[in-house]
Amino acid sequence: MDSRIRVFTGHFGSGKTEIAINYALKLKNEGKKVAIADLDIVNPYFCTRDETKMLEEKGIRVIATSKDFANAELGVIPAETLSIFNDKSYDVVLDVGGDDQGAVALGQYNRYFKEEDYDMYFVINTSRPFTNSVEGILEYIKDIEAASRLKVKYLINNTNLSYETHINHILKGQDIIKEVSKLTKIPIKYVIVMEELIDKLPKEIEGEVFPIKLYMLPPWRRDMV
């Protein structure tokens, strides 16, 4: 049984935001009452808050720093974030900034996490230079757990090379992440894949296949009609 609160963490640039947005949309499609909170105090561009309009139109509650504060780089997290712990009618997605610096933002909610179970995901892209090996990934898991004072419950294989992703990248990533899973006893919960590559994935792959659509696109990949 999934916990009501899902926390997405990982190395900076591992793809947390895309997955968090897609995950929130998935929960919404399952008929749930969904809130997504942007706790990213690290990135200035390409954040969940940039997709507020789209998410709200789909009926998802977005909790994010206002543009005024985000562009002033004040590292502010809105007080409203507390409501997701108090109002238990919501299914919650927390998009956390990268690395241990980003995970620090979670520390202030420690007493709530002690009272209620949560699913913390650790997103891995082995095509990223610092998480291309078992050792590198283990180091980041350790740092992020220490900074957030939370435990990773599931791994997510999000290995990709953006628009040049080949099925072999995902499979190679899967091998490395399986090794991490064996050493840490943390299971692989999802394998992320773009729609067009789904058919190429082997049937017996460990973890659930999670197809996603991209939202964090540069302007020249956006309004092509």
């Binding site: 640039g13 562009n71 780089e73 095509s127 990223r128 230079p129 990709n160 302007p219 009609v225």
Partner: protein, 357 residues
């Protein structure tokens, strides 16, 4: 072929410099380029090289001055307001004829401006910035891969001409993620630094003096003439540009650099469906400006040129100097961190060309 990795532009800048043999990095954090310093702080100590977060941008550029004087490959990085602070040091480095690489990941200005992407440091980069008669070679990549390749070129060009080289990208280029390959590069024959670098006497009698002070007017003028000769060489040898869809008769030629040129390529495809033949000149070096690209198309471009910028027309003058009044030069830009959509640019083209065909 090296294996491709997925990197944020700013991280790729760091790795490209490392691969190019950058021995020292001095910087100071500022959005949207802070990840350059963050990457260097993680990597440089592990490979026995120097990373130092200076107390300010002014300090950082003067550390670059010192390190460059000792003949090592050195880089600094900042964003617009920070690069303004570096200008005095850059002028000194150019005056003392030292090689170094300066990264500017541009945000909106003037003043503190904002943190979203812009190209409004074009004047500063290409027309001096600091005081005195000097020039910087300015590269303007449009993708993370091109940025990596140009940074490696930048170190070579800096060494060949003993001159600071700037690599300038808008904030988008620093923050976006793209697949990138660090290619094996042919070892270039570069001039020795042994006859000028301040590395200790080692039995020599003559000191190597790193200096930009020439108190006698005759000497300073002679020094300036030497610099001008060098800049003429650079203008002759180092111009880089791309021409896209520029064959045959053209309705309009867009002129844009950096990530905006990628939006322009989409515009060209959109307009082709509406019967308009639109080309693109993409300067890769902003200085030296690719004047000769305009010679190739000026006579067969019906409605002239359209400069598309994330600034308020700073490139227009260079285009006019290249076109020399033979065709009209128009402008479309957004500023302050706003990025134009393909549709907006396409509408401007149609307005100039009197509608679709």
């Amino acid at each position: 072929m090296a294996e491709k990795v997925l990197m944020k532009g700013n991280e790729a800048i760091g790795e490209a410099a490392i691969q190019a043999g950058c021995q020292c990095f001095f910087g100071y954090p500022i959005t949207p380029q802070t990840e350059v310093a963050a990457y260097m702080s993680r990597r440089m100590p592990k490979i026995g090289r120097v990373f130092l977060q200076a107390e300010s941008e002014v300090a950082a550029i003067n550390m670059v001055y010192g390190a460059a004087g000792s003949g090592v490959r050195v880089m600094t990085s900042s964003s617009s307001p920070g690069v303004s602070l570096k200008q005095e040091g850059i002028s000194y480095i150019a005056g003392a004829e030292l090689p170094c690489v300066i990264i500017n990941i541009v945000r909106g200005g003037p003043g503190l401006g904002g943190i979203q992407p812009a190209q409004s440091d074009y004047f500063q980069a290409t027309k001096g910035g600091g005081h005195g008669d000097y020039r910087l070679v300015v590269y303007a990549p449009s993708s993370v891969q091109e940025m990596v390749d140009l940074i490696q070129d930048a170190f070579d060009v800096a060494d060949i001409y003993r001159n600071p080289v700037m690599v300038m990208g808008d904030g988008m280029l620093g923050q976006m993620m793209e697949p990138v390959e660090f290619k094996e590069r042919e070892a270039k024959q570069l001039p020795s630094k042994a006859d000028w670098a301040a590395t200790g006497l080692h039995g020599r009698k003559e000191h190597h003096v790193i200096n930009s002070l020439f108190l006698q007017p005759e000497e300073l003028e002679k020094h300036n003439e030497k610099l001008q000769k060098k800049y003429a060489e650079i203008e002759k040898n180092e111009v880089k540009y791309e021409m896209y869809n520029c064959d045959g008769d053209l309705d309009i030629v867009l002129v844009s650099y950096g990530t905006v040129s990628r939006i322009c390529k989409n515009v060209i495809k959109m307009l082709a469906k509406e019967g308009l033949k639109v080309g693109l000149i993409r300067p890769i070096t902003l200085w030296p400006f690719p004047k000769k690209a305009f010679e190739e198309v000026v006579d067969r471009t019906k409605y002239g040129f359209l400069s598309v910028e994330l600034s308020c027309g700073q490139m227009v003058e260079d285009i006019e100097l290249s076109v020399k009044g033979r065709k009209p030069v128009n402008f479309f830009g957004r500023s302050g961190g706003m990025v134009p959509s393909p549709t907006e640019i396409a509408n401007k083209v149609k307005e100039i060309a009197g509608g679709a065909r």
